[in-house]
């Protein structure tokens, strides 16, 4: 772990419609980590990621990516810089084939020659996608779509990957599989991961550090292990 | 501010170049094989000069350099507004009414002609407003009802010698029926689709009017329609009544003024009635309205029918005034004009629509010399209004936005 954070939020506030979703949150992510943000529904987790990506406009505060300010930048400038998000709800392109979905992840890349190689690499990670490569995205099951969404963002060769609730609506076995792949991507490709999750259990088990978000405020920050042992956290988010 | 303005200047110059590239082939490549830069250059110069001035003004406004000029202007504006707010509403309306009533006694034929046009379009605008402003349904073929009303009276007058006043409710009835016919298939359609379907309907009505020779005499139109007639009491000898036709312009003015006032009062009452509120509920959020027990089907149909009624009444007057109707008067561009009156004047606001009608009829008359550019300016004005002031000149106070229209 090097000193300079790959992502830094300083007192970030943003509103979603008329509601103040984020009320001055600050967080840091260091290269190579898996950091998770946990919290209840409506706490502002998705808004955090959307604010980072510029989809939700920033009201105040600053966001730095590798030391560069990215607040106010157009969302489509971020992926070429290595910042990619897998948003909530899969959002794969339903009427595009699986391999076309993957191609879209690599669209902005200048090195189109290596895209085929990366697609094979992604198929190694997700063999089920390889079987379905010519199928339309909309015909895949929930778990397969989630894998496709993650695979698609991997095609952009991200340095920082933002994941929004990858476990949502999926069976526990599939969730485990996906999280194993997330950990593998982090360890092998050295991709930093910022993970937003409602399933605090698996999130804290996979991450090294965690933030707890409650109605737009960060109320706690600690190592994942400590958070798992914390009695308040256990009561509120781990179902005890 | 400086780097941002450099960006804007760069974009501006790029836009001017692009404009020249688009403009030149239309003016510069001639049939006789010559290439000419003069015409295109002149037009381009004018446009460049005008936009340059506007851009400079814009920068002045942004950098507050014009504060010295604009501040006192806005002060005056505020003072006017507070003065007009101070006068009680009924007094204001009384003033307007008296002015409208006395108008024909102080003006000549030309002004009365224009005024009659304005009043007719006010009726049309208010009618369309029921459909768009109240119920929130976009109708691009509204002129069809105008046409139905006009042709109804025309045929009744020619074939049955029915008097104007008796024919009015009949024309309204026919218009209402056509409103239901047009409304019925469109009840479940999305906003954009509704627009183009109503446009199509407007065209269908025009095509039918143009081609059904036996009924409507096709493109030749119907001649010899009777003007409105009244019975004037004669007191020489005994009491007898003399029937005269109101062909004189200032008589017609009063007829349409009466019609217009009737429309204004009716629309105002509808606005604040239970039906009006139900329409607003439909406009705001259809699904919720349905859940609250609003019978969407019947109310939407009613909106079309009511809007059509006012269009039909105006149409009947039109036929009585011109004494001649033809399909030429009921084209899409007329629908577009009425639509812009409603939207540019301020959707849902009665004073806004009145202002819109006045602006759209009077301004072209004022600029008679450049009549050629009238429609060009009209089109540009529509786009510009949407870009800079989408709520209209006098926005209605109770105007919300459809849930479908809101983004995000």
């Amino acid at each position: 772990m090097s000193d300079r954070p790959i992502l830094e939020l300083k007192s970030v506030s943003s509103s979603y419609g008329k509601i103040d979703a984020l009320k001055g949150i600050s967080l840091t992510v260091f290269p190579g980590e898996i950091v998770t943000i946990i919290g209840a529904n409506g706490a502002g987790k998705s808004t955090t990621l959307m604010t980072i990506c510029g989809i939700v406009p920033l009201k105040s505060g600053e966001i730095f990516y590798n030391g560069l300010p990215i607040h106010g930048k157009e969302p489509d400038t971020l992926a070429p810089m290595g910042l990619c998000q897998v948003p909530e709800g899969r959002r794969i392109f339903p009427r595009l084939k699986v391999e076309d979905n993957l191609e879209m992840g690599a669209f902005f890349r200048k090195d189109q020659a290596s895209v085929a190689k990366d697609m094979e690499h992604v198929f190694d990670l997700f063999p089920v996608l390889k079987d379905r490569r010519k199928q339309l995205g909309g015909t895949l099951s929930g778990g397969e779509q989630q894998m496709l969404a993650i695979a698609r963002s991997l095609m952009s060769k991200p340095k920082l990957l933002l994941l929004d609730e990858p476990s949502l609506g999926l069976a526990p076995l599939i969730v485990q599989k996906i999280f194993n792949i997330i950990k593998e991507v982090n360890q092998v490709d050295k991709t930093t991961i910022l993970l937003v999750e409602q399933n605090a259990n698996i999130a804290l088990q996979s991450a090294s550090r965690g933030y707890v978000l409650e109605t737009g405020n960060i109320i706690m920050e600690d190592n994942a292990g400590e958070l798992l042992k914390n009695p308040e956290i256990r009561k509120a988010y781990l179902g005890e | 501010m400086i780097p941002a303005s450099k960006q804007i200047w760069k974009k501006y110059i790029f836009a001017l170049v692009w404009f020249m590239v688009l403009l030149w082939p239309l003016l510069g490549i001639l049939e006789d094989g010559t290439i000419d830069f003069g015409k295109a250059l002149t037009v381009w110069m004018w446009v460049a000069a005008a936009t340059f001035c506007l851009l400079v003004l814009y920068f002045g406004y942004r950098t507050r350099a014009l504060k010295r000029v604009s501040a006192p202007l806005s002060d005056v504006g505020l003072k006017l507004k507070s003065a007009s707010d101070a006068i009680p509403r009924p007094a204001l309306i009384m003033l307007v009414f008296i002015a409208a009533f006395c108008f024909p006694f102080f003006t000549g034929r030309y002004a009365q002609d224009v005024a009659i046009n304005v009043l007719v379009y006010i009726c049309l605008g208010l009618g369309l407003n029921i459909v768009i402003g109240l119920a929130g349904m976009l109708d691009l073929g509204y002129i069809a009802f105008y046409g139905v009303g006009a042709y109804s009276y025309a045929l009744l007058s020619i074939h049955y010698q029915l008097s104007f006043w008796l024919a009015l409710p009949v024309a309204a009835f026919f218009a209402a029926i056509s409103g239901c016919i047009i409304g019925y298939p469109t009840l479940r359609m999305r906003g954009d689709y509704l627009a183009i379907v109503t446009l199509g309907f407007g065209e269908i009505v025009r095509i039918i009017l143009n081609n059904w020779m036996s009924l409507t005499n096709g493109p030749n139109g119907i001649l010899g329609i009777n003007a409105p007639g009244i019975y004037l009491p004669q007191l020489s000898g005994g009491l007898s009544f003399e029937h005269i036709y109101l062909k004189k312009l200032h008589y017609l003015y009063f007829v349409v003024l009466f019609l217009c006032i009737f429309t204004i009062i009716a629309v105002h009452r509808l606005n604040f009635s239970r039906i009006g509120r139900a329409w607003e509920a439909i406009r705001e959020d259809e699904t919720v309205a349905e859940l609250m027990g609003v019978n969407i089907f019947r109310l939407k149909l009613l909106a079309y029918a009511m809007g059509a009624v006012f269009g039909g009444l105006a149409g009947a007057f039109f036929a009585a005034r011109m004494r001649f109707v033809s399909p030429e008067s009921f084209t899409f561009i007329e629908s577009a004009m009425v639509l812009s009156m409603v939207v540019l004047g301020g959707m849902g606001s009665i004073p806004g629509i009145i202002l819109g009608a006045m602006a759209l009829i009077v301004l072209p008359e004022v600029f008679r010399e450049v009549e050629l550019y009238r429609m060009l300016a009209f089109g540009a004005a529509m786009t510009l209004m949407m870009l800079f002031r989408p709520k209209g000149l006098i926005p209605a106070k109770r105007f919300g936005s459809r849930s479908e229209e809101r983004e995000g």
């Binding site: 392109f93 595009l96 | 082939p25 689709y193 269908i204 089109g379 870009l387």
Partner: protein, 303 residues
């Protein structure tokens, strides 16, 4: 029987032209949910560009020596012109209103349509502008069936353009990006794809197709008029809806159907009311099957 075959050929020709125009409507609606009222004017502008260029070349004598080369060159230039026109219109009248209400952008489009139509009228005159007659001469005759060389050329060019566009949209990277942006604009920007650029390209392609249609209509009917875009525009939109809005293949098939129905309707039912058939189909489709024959291709994530 011969009458039927003649109508069939006419129907396919007209259908191909409607297909070309419909493509612009369907692609633009698919990507930004706007009925581009001004699209009919791109069609008219294309027709005018064609006649301007061809008349110029005719007066210089090039048409008699290389007629088809002139036509090909004019076609390409006209398509390029209309592409540029469409990109300008999008930048000025639609882009600033991307987050405004549907009504506002619809009215802006309406205003642009009126503006462009009158622009054409003021610069080119109110009268019909004739195409050089050299192209409409000659053809094949099979008994009572006449197939002019021009019809064959039109059919050929139309088919080529439609196939090329199909390949572009379904097989190339940029085409897939266009379809992806239509299906989920936010997602594509998260993947680093510039929506603005894709939207501009969409407009340019649609207008280019419409321009080609405009030239071919000008050649086929012999002349162009400043208001020629209005009625074909509505019919082409009907074709786009019939095929499934946003769906490129659907627009092509829809165009063919509308063209056939119009020709056969005019031939067997009534010539006077031929314009009405397309409207009836539009209303019917929207009432009974709003997603069209081949299914829509719009953004499902928006409500």
């Amino acid at each position: 029987m011969e009458f039927f075959i003649q109508q069939f050929i006419n129907g396919i020709t007209l259908g191909g032209i409607y297909a070309l125009i419909a493509l612009g409507y369907t692609m633009v609606y698919g990507i930004i949910q706007l009925i581009n009222f001004a699209h009919g004017e791109f069609f008219a502008a294309g027709g005018y560009m064609g006649v301007i260029l061809l008349s110029f070349l005719a007066s210089r004598g090039f048409i008699t020596t290389h007629p088809w080369l002139c036509l090909g060159g004019s076609l390409l230039l006209a398509m390029l012109y209309c592409a540029m026109l469409a990109m300008a219109v999008e930048k000025v009248a639609y882009k600033p209103l991307r987050h405004a209400s549907r009504l506002a952008v619809l009215l802006s489009a309406l205003g642009m349509s009126i503006f462009l139509q009158n622009g054409l009228m003021l610069t080119q005159g109110v009268f019909d502008k004739p195409y050089p007659s050299i192209y409409s001469q000659g053809g094949f005759e099979f008994g009572n069936i006449v197939v002019s060389y021009l019809q064959i050329i039109i059919l050929g060019v139309t088919i080529v353009l439609l196939i090329l566009l199909n390949i572009l949209v379904y097989k190339t990277r940029i085409g897939k990006a266009m379809r992806a942006t239509a299906q989920d604009k936010i997602m594509t920007s998260l993947l680093g794809i510039s929506s603005n650029r894709i939207i501009s390209i969409t407009f340019a392609l649609g207008a280019g197709m419409a321009a080609a249609a405009g030239i071919m209509v000008g050649l086929y009917y012999g002349s162009v008029r400043y208001d020629m875009g209005f009625v074909p525009g509505i019919k082409a939109f009907a074709a786009a809806v019939l095929g499934g809005i946003g769906n490129v293949t659907g627009a092509m098939i829809g165009g063919l159907i509308i063209g056939m129905v119009e020709i056969f309707g005019a031939g067997y039912i009534s010539g006077q009311y031929k314009d009405v058939f397309a409207f009836i189909i539009l209303i019917g489709v929207l009432y009974f099957m709003p997603t069209g024959i081949m299914g829509e291709n719009v953004d499902d994530t928006r409500v």
